[in-house]
C-alpha cells in the first residue's frame, strides 16, 4: 500500500487524474464507435506539431524567468521568416530551411531585447511576458497590413492592402517533415521524419544543459544569489535562456505550420503560448524546474486530451459548437490548476 502511495507521490496527482480522464475519454470514444485509428494518428500528429513549442518552455524555466508567456514573440519571428521565404518564391525543403534560418536570426535579436525587458521586471516575468507578447502580436498586425509584399500566394486575391489572415503553404513547405519517412501501420500514420527532427532538437537542448554555460544558466535559475556568489552573471544567463526559448518558439511555429498546412497571421499567435504552458505543467514541470521528459509526457497527454475530447463531446453534445467551448474550458482549466500549484512541493 505504501508503495502505491509512493508511486503516486512520485508521479504526481495531476498527471494521474489526467491519465484517468484520458482513459475515460477513450472508453467513451470506443463506446461511441468513433474511429480509434484516426484518433491515434491525430494524437501522434498533434503532439509532434506542438512538441517544439512546449520544448521552448524549458530554457526559460531553467534560466529562472519562469514560463515563457511571451512565446508569441518567438512565434512571430518564425512566421516572419516563413513569410519572407514565401516572398522569395522558395519551395519545399529549401523554403523550410530558409524560413528557419531567418526565423532564428530574428528570434536571437528579439529574444535579446525581450530578455533585457525581463531583467528589469524580475519576479513579474510571467505577467509582463504575457502582455509583452500581446503587444508585439498587435504591433505585428499593423506590419502584416503595411508590409509591401507582392507574392500572390499571400496577398488578398481581390487586391487591396496587406497579407491574408491565413496563408496556404500548399506550394511551399506544406508537410515537408510530416511526409518525410511517413510510416503507415494498419491505418495508423506515424510521421517519423517529424519525430526525428524533434528528437534532434530535444537532444540539442539536453546537451546544452550539460555544458558549462547550460549549467551556469540552470544555477542562475535555481538560486540567483548562489550563482552570483559563484561568479556567474545572472542577468546574462537569463538573457541566454530567453533567447533560446524565443528561438525554439520560432522553430516550433514552423514545424506547427508545415504540419497544419497554413501560416496563421494577425491575431492567431496571441494565445499560442497557453497550450505550451499547459502541456509542460501537465508534464510535471514547475515554474522552477523543467526537463525534456516533462515536455514529451506533457505534450502527449495534453494533445491526446484535446484530440479525443473533441469528437467525444461532439458525439455527446452535437448542439452547435459546444465541443469548442468544452475544449477551451479543459485547456484553460488545466492551466489554472497547474498555475495554482506554483511553488508547491519540491
Amino acid at each position: 500500500m505504501s508503495q502505491i502511495k509512493k508511486f503516486i507521490d512520485n508521479f504526481g496527482y495531476t498527471r494521474i487524474i489526467i491519465i484517468l480522464f484520458l482513459i475515460l475519454l477513450f472508453i467513451a470514444a470506443f463506446a461511441l464507435e468513433l474511429q480509434t485509428k484516426s484518433l491515434i494518428s491525430g494524437i501522434l500528429n498533434r503532439a509532434g506539431m506542438n512538441m517544439l513549442l512546449t520544448l521552448a518552455m524549458v530554457p526559460s524555466i531553467q534560466s529562472g524567468t519562469g514560463l515563457n508567456f511571451g512565446l508569441s514573440i518567438g512565434i512571430l519571428c518564425g512566421v516572419l521568416g516563413a513569410v519572407l521565404s514565401i516572398a522569395m518564391d522558395l519551395t519545399g525543403g529549401r523554403a523550410f530551411f530558409v524560413a528557419n534560418v531567418l526565423g532564428i536570426l530574428f528570434a536571437i535579436v528579439a529574444g535579446y531585447v525581450y530578455g533585457l525587458l525581463l531583467n528589469r521586471v524580475k519576479t513579474q516575468e510571467m505577467l509582463i511576458g504575457t502582455y509583452a507578447g500581446f503587444s508585439v502580436v498587435s504591433g505585428m498586425c499593423m506590419f502584416w497590413i503595411l508590409a509591401p509584399f507582392k507574392s500572390p500566394k499571400m496577398i488578398w486575391p481581390y487586391g487591396g492592402r496587406g497579407l491574408r489572415v491565413t496563408v496556404s503553404l500548399e506550394d511551399t513547405f506544406d508537410k515537408v517533415l510530416n511526409n518525410f519517412l511517413l510510416g503507415q501501420y494498419n491505418g495508423i500514420e506515424v510521421p517519423w521524419g517529424l519525430y526525428g527532427y524533434i528528437i534532434l532538437l530535444c537532444l540539442a537542448v539536453w546537451l546544452f544543459s550539460r555544458s558549462k554555460t547550460g549549467i551556469a544558466m540552470q544555477t542562475a535559475g535555481s538560486n540567483p544569489r548562489f550563482a552570483e556568489a559563484s561568479g556567474i552573471n545572472v542577468d546574462s544567463m537569463r538573457i541566454i535562456g530567453t533567447i533560446l526559448s524565443t528561438v525554439l518558439g520560432a522553430m516550433g511555429i514552423l514545424v506547427y505550420a508545415q504540419s497544419y498546412g497554413f501560416l496563421q497571421l494577425y491575431t492567431a499567435p496571441l494565445y499560442m503560448a497557453f497550450p505550451a504552458v499547459a502541456a509542460i505543467l501537465i508534464g510535471g514541470a514547475t515554474v522552477r524546474k523543467a526537463s525534456i521528459a516533462h515536455v514529451i509526457i506533457g505534450t502527449f497527454l495534453f494533445q491526446a486530451l484535446l484530440v479525443v475530447a473533441l469528437p467525444v463531446t461532439n458525439a455527446v453534445l452535437p448542439e452547435g459548437n459546444l465541443s469548442e467551448v468544452v475544449r477551451i474550458i479543459i485547456s484553460n482549466g488545466i492551466i489554472v490548476y497547474a498555475l495554482t500549484r506554483i511553488g508547491g512541493g519540491e
Binding site: 535555481s222 561568479g231 552573471n233
Partner: protein
Amino acid sequence: MSKPILQLIDISKEYYGNRVLKKVNLTVYPGEVHAIVGENGAGKSTLMNILFGMPVIHSTGGFSGQIIFDGEPADINSPKVAMEKGIGMVHQEFMLLPGFTITENLKLNREITKHNLVSKLLGEKMKSLDMEAMRKDARKALDTLGVDIDEMLPVEGLPVGHKQFIEIAREIDKTNVRLLVFDEPTAVLTEIEADLFLKAVEKLAASGIAILFITHRLSEVMQVADNITVIRDGEVVGRLTREEATIEDMARLMVGRKIDRIEKTKKVNNGTDENILEIKNLKVDMPGEVVKNVNLNVKKGEILGIGGLAGHGKIGIANGIMGLYPASGEVIFKGEKIKLNSPNDVLSRGMAFVSEDRRGVGLLLDESIEKNIVLTAMQVQRKFLTRILGVNFALSSKIREHAKKLIKELDIRCTGPEQPVRRLSGGNQQKVCIARAVTLEPDLLFVSEPTRGIDVGAKKIVLDLLLKLNQELGMTIVITSSELAELRSICDRIAIIYDGKLEGILPPDADDTDFGLMMAGGHSDKAKEVS
C-alpha cells in the same frame, strides 16, 4: 519602595529542545529604569517577547514560569492583552505610516472622534475626527519628551531620530501605560539625539512609569539605569545597582568565561609577517550590516577572527570583498588590487567564501551534493570540463570521483554524491559548503558564521576541519562569527568590529573585560593592539 509593577518568576523557554531562557527572575518597580544587558542571543529579546505575549512564543510551545503584573498573576497571551494591561513597547524597526502626519501616526486606531450629522443617523462608524483634541494630545506627548517638532508634519522625510521619538510619544500617549519596554532604542540615534532621548527616559521615569531598557551601549546604562540585570546564555548572571556597577564589570559579566580552546597541536602556521590581504577604507552597503570604514590586514597563514555584535558590520566585510554587496575602498590581495563588486575576479584570484546564509547563498538545495561541490570551480576555474567541438561539457566521471573523495575526507554523512543537499543535516550541509570552497583550492578562505544553526557535536567537527585546513594546507582563514567563544578557540588574532569600523585587535587569550568593552564600543584606547 512601593510594590513592584512587574515580577517575572522562574521564566524558562525552550525552542525545539534548545533552552534559551533558564529560570529568569526580574522585578521592576514603578518609576524605575531597569536595564537589561547581554550579548546577541543571550535571550533578551525572547524575554521581551514573552512579556509582550508575542505569537512566536505561543506557536513554539509557550513558556514556563509566572508573570505578575501590578500584584496580580497575568496571563499575557497576545500583544493586545499586554497593551490593555498598560505595557508599551517601542520597537527597533519603525512602525509608522510615512504619508501621515505625526499626530495621525500618534493617534492611529485610537483617534478621538466627535459626532456629526451623518453619524447621528448612521452610528458610531461615521463619526468625524476631532483634530483639535488629537493635536493637543500629540503636543503634550511630544512636550513630555522635550522634542520641539511641529505635530502636523508628515512623518515621511523626518530624520531617524525624530521617528524614534514619535514611536515613543505614541506609547506614552496611551493613557494607561504603566511599563515601557525599549528594545535597543539608541541603536539608530546620533549622540546628541541619544542624549536627548536619555533625558526623556528620565522624565518618563520621574512621572512614575517603569522602564525596561535593553541595550548594548554600556555607557548609556551607566547614565540612566537605576538597576541593571546582565543576561548570558539565557541565565541571569548579575544584578547590579547603578552605584556598584562599573562598565568593566558589566563587560566581563556579559562575555563571561567560557573559553574552550582547541589547542593547535602542531604550531606550524600561526601567521607570518607577510600580509596576504590588505583592506583599506572598505565600505560595504549590506542592509543591516553596514561596513563604514574598515582598515585591516590579514597575515599569510593565520586564522583571523572577526567578531562583534550583530548589526555592527562584521558580516559585511567578507560579503563586500567577495562582491556580493556593493563595496568601495581598496582591497589588495597578494600585492595586487582586486576588482571590487566582481565575484568572478575575486574567486579567480584565489579567494573563496563560505556564506553565513547557508540555505540562501551557500547551497543549491534541490541539487545533488556533487553538483554543489564542483559548481563554482567549474564556472570560475574551468575544472571538470571537457571540450567537444568547441563546447565545454561537464565531465561526470571526474566530478563523481572528486565528490566521493571529498565526502570521504570531510566525512559528509549522506547516501551518496547524488543526494540532494536539502536532505542533509545542518552540519553536513556546512561541510558541503566548505567542500565547495576547498575545491577552489583557495589561498584565502572567508568563513562566515560557520557553526550557526548546527548542533553542538557538528560545531566542533566544523571548527576542527577549518583548523586542519589551516595547519595542513597552509590556508589563510578569516572567520566571522557572533560566537566569541568559538573565535577564541581557534583564531590567532581576533578583530572586533564596532559600528562599521575596526575597534581593535585582541589575542584570543585576552581578558574578557577587554572583549566586552570593545564589543560595546567607545573604549578603543584601552585595547591592547597585538601584531
